[in-house]
Amino acid sequence: MAGSEEIIKVGGKAIQLFTGGTGAPLLYLHGAGVYWWMPAHDLVAARHRVLAPVHPGFGASEGYDEIEGMDDLVFHTLDVMDALGLERANVVGLSLGGWLAAELALRHPGRVNRLVLVDAAGTRVPGVEREDLFMAGPARARGLLFADPESAVARQIVPDTPPPERLEAALRGREAAARLLWNPAGSYRKLTSRLGRIKAPTLVIWGAQDRVLPPALGQAYQRGIPGARLETLDGCGHLPPFEQPERFARLVLDFLRT
């Protein structure tokens, strides 16, 4: 099974959308580096209708110029939900998408049923340093992102040189990521103090070997969100859906079933 891909119109902009499966809708919000359908999506789509829109500036999605910060991406995502007819949905967000999911849940609690945050950006803990992927070449980036930087999936997601046909999209994606993630210390500080506003039952999944966003930042999510549960995955780095897809999918499916 592979997700199907289409272009939808959101506020006049072309937005790339991956979908797969049937069942209760699950909105998957992608991170800064992988914005296409992966085996983890198939596993979750076994019991859900997975909708994975591509954020403006990434992949084939337009509208980068309108995104100046996280507020704009939250509003855009509400527009995407409207366009998809999603009054409420379960929301799963990874990294950048996790930060987006948390902001969505605390600002618009009526739109989020259950929330899964996976190695999510957004929290800030004084003294906990984040490694900067923008300063890292491919080899170092693999080391920061993966518990096993030599694995096939690590080389697939972070190749030494992107294939020529993907070079332009990769450069644009990097720029779209930097717009939101370039040291947003101010936003991070405020988000951490607002987490108590999240009403959705929340599962936090974190790679124990995440060096980009160390597990202390996941603990901050777990502490801040009322009733949140934290699952830390051994032998896993920043990207649990890709480094441990079965384990990730089982956690998500079990949590959404309860």
Partner: protein, 382 residues
């Protein structure tokens, strides 16, 4: 032809094993490697070299701006310009900084440059630069906004110099209700503005539309620079309706004049490699943070073809790419003559002190250049 004596003011004392111990001479190189006592003597030598350029007959002396690195010790070029103004009387002073997007208060830049213009009685040439990619890290400026901030700050500064104040500047990144620069510049309508650039299409359009002199960056093949000059001429002709005159094109060249070709190379080469392998040791990711250079510019063939000086592996390669103009006076004359014709330039921005080159060697080369090269080229390219 205008001859500029330009200085980078490098730190020349990086240890021999620097490359083995450090990935970069920028941003995260520990500042414990800088010795302020030696730094004091160094500033004096470097300023003496620029002051000597007035006596030697150069038209312009120039300084630039870089941050947190061993390549160039001028985080504030305006301070160096103030010092040079006091020690010279006729020569023009080029400030090929201020890196506008790095500053949240471009009014401060407008004020300081106006001060320098008044202090020097109108001898100031201002640069306005985007700043290197690595400097987005230095000042924590989101690189995806750098081009927008640059354009807005430029507009604010030019308006602050030319429109009666106070007025309200309303921009996306800068919004100041009280723009009212005291003092105003002495040159009218404002001091000349020269723009350095690496050849991005964004900068080429910007200078073409405003008819600003454009100075290339010195660290890639001559042919790549020449292509960029041709792009400027073509853009100005097709989009702005004018032919770019030579006075609007600046060739930045490392120049060393020795007694003979062989002696020149022997004296120059170690300092060239110091610059290439130590001062410009800079990881690609530091140099090109996302957004600093547009995706269009990064995908252009000339960007891909460019071989940055730090990647050179032999002197032969450096010579074939014309990364530096080195030789006897006759050789240097000949190479510059060919280059000027090929580039179509009316500004030679000479960089004489290179890397770890000591004061006496620098001075001798400058003196030979002023005596045996510059007059002949002036006669040939008035």
């Amino acid at each position: 032809m205008q001859f500029v004596c330009f200085h980078l003011m490098p730190w020349p004392h990086l240890p021999a094993d620097f490359e083995q111990r450090h990935e970069s001479a920028w941003l995260d190189l520990p500042n414990t490697l800088y010795d302020p006592t030696r730094g004091h003597a160094l500033y004096n030598d470097y300023l003496d070299q620029l002051v000597a350029a007035e006596r030697l007959g150069f038209d312009v002396i120039g300084v630039n701006e870089h941050h947190q690195n061993a390549y160039g010790l001028m985080p504030s070029p305006n301070i160096m310009a103030a010092s040079l103004i006091q020690r010279t009387s006729r020569i023009k002073i080029l400030v090929l900084g201020n890196a506008l997007p790095l500053y949240d208060h471009p009014q401060r830049v407008a004020e300081e440059l106006a001060m320098l213009d008044v202090l020097s009685n109108g001898r100031l040439i201002t640069g306005m630069v985007v700043g290197l990619g690595v400097e987005a890290f230095t000042y924590e400026i989101n690189p995806t906004f750098i081009r927008e901030r640059y354009r807005e700050a430029h507009e604010l500064i030019v308006r602050a110099w030319t429109e009666p104040g106070p007025f309200h500047f309303e921009g996306k990144h800068y919004d100041f209700r009280w723009v009212n620069v005291w003092p105003r510049p002495i040159q009218q309508p404002h001091p000349p503005i020269w723009i350095p650039g690496s050849g991005s299409m964004e900068t080429i359009r910007f200078v073409a539309e405003r008819r600003y002199p454009w100075i290339a960056l010195p660290y890639s093949q001559f042919d790549v620079m020449k292509e960029h000059f041709e792009m400027l001429r073509e853009y100005a002709a097709t989009h702005c309706g004018y032919d770019v005159p030579p006075a609007q094109i600046g060739w930045p060249a490392m120049i060393y004049v020795g007694e003979t070709d062989r002696q020149a190379r022997e004296e120059f080469e170690p300092h060239f490699w110091y610059l290439a392998k130590k001062g410009l040791r800079l990881p690609r990711e530091y140099m090109f943070p996302p957004g600093h250079t547009s995706v269009e510019s990064q995908l252009r063939p000339s960007h891909i073809k460019r071989k940055f000086i730090s990647l050179l592996s032999s002197w032969r390669e450096a010579e074939e790419g014309t990364y530096a103009i080195v030789g006897s006076a006759e050789t240097v004359r000949q190479k510059l003559r060919e280059g000027i014709k090929a580039a179509g330039c009316g500004i030679i921005q000479g960089i004489f002190q290179v890397g770890s080159m000591p004061h006496d060697l620098t001075m001798r080369s400058m003196e030979r250049f002023a005596r045996d090269v510059m007059p002949a080229l002036r006669a040939e390219f008035p």
